[in-house]
């Protein structure tokens, strides 16, 4: 044990400080922090793109952006938020927390971990470089072929998108394999699968989803690349190709992808709510099985994105019914979170606020999803702003609020300081109000028939007022993010308190120092229950004693 600790501190001792020590690092905590910071920058860029779109749409017949610019911006907004912000933010938390939470010293393949991060970073930068080489991709984040064939999309933007997606897919795949093998092989003694913290469980399921769904996207974009560059005809109907093939391949990846984005946030919320309610999570096993259930069902519903493509009615029926089923495991989770809070000693600090915000907003988004699973309703509102409202309630109100909850919760572990509580509350309320102002009216616009992805609209359709309100909401969100950026830098300049357990939490990452040493734990902990740190702090009330 001590030999190992000495070894790792000697390896780390070679370069502890300075820029190069970060470039060369294979420490999961540093890689995790780099993931989080890079993804946060991409998130800000994606947010600015959203702001540009909202300014353009604030008034009818606006000339703020050209149609071509608008197409590039909404494509890059979607691509950025999904592949360069939410996925790597989750990967950042996973990198930082999984070894700490399972009582390990690092990931199982530290170098592979570094490779995954750098591939992600350069994949993202590569995609963004397209702005300087004849224009960014402009066919939407799902890049439907044959629209993306060379004949219809002659610019190189699409090629940048294809290569960027291949790089990002590669980064995510090797990262996920690393997570899976780490969780299978490196758990501390006693850390059985039924004692795994929920964040680790959701990252485990998420990693499997990524590993099994990304190959489908890889296939889709490779075939598109062969079509565009070597003259193959996979998506060219005139030469024996198929116009629907892309949609099937893409959504077979794209729907599990939705759960890749939301499950880590659900894991974060499942860690935060018990701590700030002073109670263990209600129905741990039910929540674990519902995560597995969501992951499994996620692979069987992809064609509900394609209701308007003229599939046979039995197919429609199957995919509609199957999509409703996903409401069941999701509902189980929401009840578990509410039951955890029920009669708890609630503390409304910022991490808890964002987690409660997550539950509320995700519920709205989930209900929207059920509307969209009803085939005749979907035929009316598909490709309208209703869909935009749905995706943002689940991915912004859901994934981003969950991730922000995690940022406030684990910032003290990573930096040794808490983020300022007052500014945090401002951040939360600005985001919560702004979010609802932007996305709630989109339901109305969708029902009124405003199509998504149009760069402007005519006056006199009754859309002006809602669009104007949405733009105000977007500015409020931007103000909230500014408060967060100020909070981040102000809090970092405060003197570190280095409390190892500032929230009175339950899981192993709070057992070690804040920030943790390179080797994480001086002694590998032995786990006897679901809340190892609680057991240690309250030996008389330990969970495993109660179970006996």
């Amino acid at each position: 044990m001590t030999v190992q600790a000495q070894n790792s501190s000697r390896i780390q001792g070679a370069a502890q400080r300075g820029f190069l020590s970060w470039v060369m690092t294979v420490d999961h905590k540093r890689i995790g922090i780099m993931y989080l910071l890079s993804a946060a920058l991409f998130f800000l860029v994606g947010g600015l793109e959203a702001l540009l779109m909202r300014i353009q749409l604030a008034q009818p017949e606006s000339k703020f952006l050209t149609p071509d610019m608008y197409n590039q911006i909404f494509t890059m907004h979607g691509t950025t938020m999904i592949f360069l912000a939410v996925m790597p933010l989750a990967a950042g938390f996973g990198n930082y927390l999984i070894p700490l939470m399972i009582g390990a010293r690092d990931m199982v393949y530290p170098k592979l971990n570094a490779l995954s991060y750098w591939t992600f970073l350069f994949g993202g930068l590569f995609m963004y470089s397209s702005f300087f080489f004849g224009g960014a991709p402009n066919d939407g984040w799902f890049s439907y072929a044959p629209l993306t064939e060379k004949l219809y999309s002659p610019s190189h933007g699409m090629d940048f998108w294809i290569m960027g997606i291949l790089l990002l897919g590669f980064a995510t795949t090797i990262g996920s394999i690393n997570f899976i093998v780490t969780i299978i092989q490196l758990r501390a003694p006693g850390m059985t699968l039924t004692r795994l913290p929920l964040f680790v469980w959701t990252m485990f399921v998420t990693s499997f989803l990524a590993v099994f769904s990304l190959p489908s996207l890889t296939t889709a974009v490779l075939l598109l690349f062969l079509d565009r560059e070597l003259g193959a005809h996979f998506y060219n109907v005139a030469q024996g190709g198929s116009a629907l093939l892309w949609q099937h391949l893409f959504w077979f990846f794209g729907h599990p992808e939705v759960y890749i984005l939301i499950l880590p946030a659900m894991g974060i919320v499942s860690e935060v709510i018990p701590v700030f309610s002073g109670k263990p999570l209600f129905g741990y096993k039910a929540v674990v099985f519902s995560a597995i259930g969501i992951g499994f069902l996620g692979f069987t519903v992809w064609a509900h994105h394609m209701f308007a493509t003229g599939m046979p009615s039995t197919t429609l029926l199957f995919f509609a019914a199957d999509s409703f089923l996903i409401g069941v495991p999701t509902g189980v989770k929401i009840f578990a979170w509410l039951a955890t809070m029920w009669k708890g000693k609630l503390r409304f600090e910022t991490p808890m606020l964002f987690s409660i915000g997550f539950v509320a907003l995700f519920l709205i988004g989930g209900l929207d999803g059920i509307h969209l699973a009803v085939v005749p309703v979907d035929w009316q509102i598909t490709d309208t702003y209703y869909v935009v409202a749905h995706i943002h309630y689940v991915l912004f109100g859901g994934a981003i609020f969950g991730i922000l909850s995690g940022v406030y919760y684990w910032f003290p572990k990573m930096s040794g300081r808490r983020l300022d509580e007052g500014l945090g509350k401002w951040h939360f309320w600005l985001m919560f109000i702004g979010m609802n102002l932007v996305f709630m009216p989109m339901h109305i616009l969708g029902i009124e028939g405003m199509p998504r992805r149009i760069y402007t609209y005519g006056a006199g359709r009754g859309w002006e007022i809602w669009n104007f309100i949405e733009t105000i909401g977007a500015i409020i969100i931007a103000a909230g993010m500014l408060v967060f950026i100020v909070n981040f830098f102000v809090s970092l300049r405060k003197e570190a308190t280095n409390k190892s357990d500032p929230w009175d939490a339950n899981t192993l990452e709070w057992k070690t120092a804040s920030p943790p040493p390179a080797y994480n734990f001086e002694e590998i902990p032995v786990v006897r229950g679901l809340r190892p740190l609680w057991d240690e702090k309250h030996p008389e009330l330990a969970d495993w004693k109660a179970a006996e």
């Binding site: 093998v181 490779l222 075939l223 062969l226 003259g231 024996g240 198929s242």
Partner: protein, 188 residues
């Protein structure tokens, strides 16, 4: 990272084998989606039947070659396990040679199939599936070569042969995918 991997002694599979199993499952989804794309395209009415390959001698030869190489890859692991290092080397060399002959024949097949990748959809399907399988064969050959060199250097023994076994596992996978592709592209 052996010092890290040993913290969980109850696990039967080595870390490398767990990782390989997951990688191969992921690869299988890749080949499966490619095959589904092929079936979907074939299902359409305007499938150009005249492009279906009728010659079977070359792919059959290749099938036999790969099956034999899978057997020799298996023998290479078994010999190592019972301590016959030089026999294992011989089997590894045989596996490599069979793999290289397979690649040579595949290149011949590619250039003499009378098709181009832009020959309607079938050409694209044929070259994409076969091409990606070929890349896996090449990756396998590199893996086996490294293992052969390491065996010669005395890196492996009757108690330490996991990497060689992983190489063999990968080679079985490459062989199984070939059989699927052979049936799908030549026989159906």
């Amino acid at each position: 990272m052996s010092i890290l991997a040993n913290t969980s002694p109850t696990n039967k599979l080595s870390t490398g084998k767990v990782a390989l199993s997951i990688i191969l499952t992921s690869e299988s989804v890749f080949f499966a989606t490619m095959l589904v794309a092929y079936v979907a395209l074939r299902d359409q009415n305007n499938w150009p039947v005249e492009h279906t390959l009728a010659r079977l001698s070359i792919p059959l030869t290749n099938t036999v070659l790969l099956l034999f190489s899978a057997i020799s890859a298996w023998r290479a692991t078994v010999s190592l396990r019972v301590g016959k290092t030089s026999a294992s080397q011989a089997w590894q060399i045989l596996t490599l040679l069979l793999g290289l002959v397979f690649v040579t024949i595949q290149i011949f097949e590619f250039t003499h199939s009378g098709m181009q990748i832009n020959d309607q959809a079938y050409g694209g399907v044929f070259f994409t599936l076969m091409g990606f399988h070929g890349l896996h064969v090449l990756a396998g050959i590199v893996f086996l070569m490294i293992n052969l060199v390491r065996t010669r250097l005395g890196d492996f023994s009757s108690t330490r042969y996991d990497t060689v076994e992983i190489g063999s596992w990968f080679w079985y996978y490459v062989t199984s995918v070939w059989i699927l592709l052979f049936v799908a592209l030549y026989l159906l």
